[in-house]
């Protein structure tokens, strides 16, 4: 399999699906002439022309709503936000329209739309540009949420998302775009939503992560290995639907769980996973479920403080040790 970057894997997914289905189009700020703010859509304007790769002015509420309306009547829009932070001004379109129209219409209308963008911390982009927005959206029924960590998953899941008849939100990361990995070039390659992946087998403790933090968790596991601790790392890949079975099977083996992800500690995806584990594997647990999240403060600009605030391998390793009563 060819080795490609996460960024190209997403691009391949969009190009293949646009080749396959002319109802699919890409709309967002700077996706066309500028070749994408993060170059994800590089070359797509030349390939598909301005009717299918559409540069939008700064009006997220407007073009998110345009995507929803176009999807209702049968198109399959891919709406790119420059970053997920900016979806906050389009929040109502996703909460009140995209996720509700099928139900409000008694099942008459569906909204086959994909919203995608980089998410969470980048490098020193400050308090307003570092939000982990999946925690807001995963709460909402009617939506599906994916957060791939690996290039092959990014491609397979995004292709499935584009073919899905429901609104799917894809959480990428600026810091993941240049990660390389083997990616199938078979245009029929897709990956079902709702399947987690055990990216590292282990017997002593289970680390549950998603998106960029999967890589941090793998670093933590490698560090723990040196100390004779064998941690299993689960990449959720999709947050809604959530593959809790894979998590429970691992916990049934390790009896210890650490949930790690970007985003503030109060509520969100991390709390949900911890709650499901304690409810569904109560008797399997030999220690409290630990959580490693972004500190409960707005993101500081200063580089050292920023690193202090976001989850690190060391913090995850320490949480694993706490769960093993080794600290």
């Amino acid at each position: 399999m060819p080795s490609v970057r996460y960024r190209e894997a997403l691009r391949q997914a969009m190009i293949e699906e646009m080749d396959r289905d002319e109802r699919v189009f890409l709309m967002g700020e700077e996706v066309g002439h500028y070749q994408g703010a993060y170059k994800v859509s590089e070359g797509m304007l030349d390939r598909f022309g301005p009717t299918r790769v559409i540069d939008a002015p700064i009006a997220e509420n407007g073009f998110a709503g345009i995507g929803v309306g176009a999807a209702m009547v049968g198109l399959r829009p891919i709406i790119e936000f420059m970053t997920w932070n900016f979806s906050a001004v389009a929040f109502d379109q996703i909460l009140s329209n995209a996720s509700k129209i099928r139900q409000m219409s008694g099942g008459q209308f569906t909204v086959p739309i994909v919203f995608r963008a980089p998410n969470a911390s980048a490098a020193q982009v400050g308090a307003q540009h570092s939000h982990a927005m999946e925690h807001f959206y995963a709460h909402i029924p009617g939506l599906k949420i994916i957060a791939p960590a690996m290039p092959a998953d990014a491609k397979g899941l995004l292709k499935t998302a584009i073919r899905d008849d429901n609104p799917v939100l894809c959480f990428e990361a600026e810091t993941l775009y240049s990660v390389k990995g083997e990616v199938p070039d078979d245009p029929d390659y897709t990956l079902p939503l709702g399947l987690a992946n055990v990216v590292r087998g282990g017997k002593d403790a289970t680390i549950v992560a998603w998106s960029r933090i999967v890589h941090v968790a793998l670093d933590a596991a490698r560090a723990l290995e040196k100390e004779g601790i064998d941690a299993e790392v689960i990449d959720l890949r999709s947050l809604r639907p959530l593959d809790i079975d894979t998590v429970l099977a691992s916990v049934a083996k390790t009896h210890r769980a650490v949930v790690a992800g970007e985003g503030w500690p109060y509520g969100g995806v991390g709390a949900e996973i911890a709650d499901r584990i304690q409810r569904l594997a109560f008797d399997e647990l030999d220690a409290p479920i630990e959580r490693v999240q972004t500190m409960d403060v707005p993101m500081p600009y200063n580089a050292k403080l920023e690193q202090l605030v976001i989850p690190q391998a060391m913090g995850i390793a320490n949480a694993v040790k706490r769960s093993l009563y080794r600290s």
Binding site: F25, T51, A56, P57, A59, N61, G62, F63, A64, G65, I66, G67, V68, G69, A70, A71, M72, V73, G74, L75, P77, V89, D92, Q93, S96, N97, I101, R102, Q103, M104, S105, G106, G107, Q108, F109, T110, P112, P141, G142, K144, D164, D165, N166, L193, G194, R240, P241, L242
Partner: protein, 335 residues
Amino acid sequence: MLATTNQTNLGSAPDARTERLVAFYRQMLLIRRCEEESARAYAQGKIGGFLHLYIGQEAVAVGACATLEPDDYVVGTYRDHGLAIAKGMAPKTVLAELYGKVTGCSQGLGGSMHLFDAEHHMLGGYGIVGGHIPLAAGVAFASKYRKDGRVTLCFFGEGAVSIGGFHEACSLAALWKLPIVFVCENNEYSMGTPLSRTMAVEDVTLKADGYGMAKDRFFVRDVVEVESRIGEAVARARKDSEPTLIEARTYRFRGHSMSDPGKYRTPAELEERKKSDPLMRARAELESAALGDRLEQLEADVEREIEEAVRFAEESAEPGPELLEASTYAGPFAR
């Protein structure tokens, strides 16, 4: 200055006009009666939640929808019963929805504010002010993308013109030349807020120039004039794929919703405005055209249709729990 009604420049011969007026009168009456029955059922506790009546504004939806092809789209607000019927939906599916029955247009899941009908291209009533305007622009975007020649009509109140959704939808529709007509039904009140506390200017369509959009503005007195004025905008959308912002000055005779005592306006004001009720105005013109018996016939038909609709709504079954998950996601449920 607002253009006032002028029958001579409607470009339709008197008898042709009378024929249209008969058809429009019937639809307006159907809406009026349907709303009156809804109010009654609400008072009896048979309809719950919010109920926003369209009484007084019927001429807007009826005149506007008369300009459309069957495949054209409409998108509206929570005040959507009149639009639904004007677009061709049967009163019984509307009433059944208000009653929360599974035979309702949205299977009793949507309710009064969320009437949808795929068959008649009624793309919904929406409850978040301004939230449906970008969505409507997206429907028009799809028509342009597919070159299907369809037009989208989007309805909203004057209370919606200060909110971001209106502005972004107009900005994008003008920039991308979308085949849409934005119809602002200015009924002079946003809940209890009069025009003067909503906008610094009285003319909504002044905003059109800032978007580079065509505009039109008129008082709603004569339903046939509504048809011709909105017809021009629909033609512009269909032929030139150009959007238009229309302000239709109208008035609602009931409260904002059933829970609104309407203390913000005097009974005198209300009575005064009822004198120029476009529905009664149409009826008077038809009577003076000596169409008395046809009117009686028509009104009897409407009564029968409404009676049947009420019975249908009363007797229909309620939706079952099995609809909940199935209506949340297409395909297998996700958790």
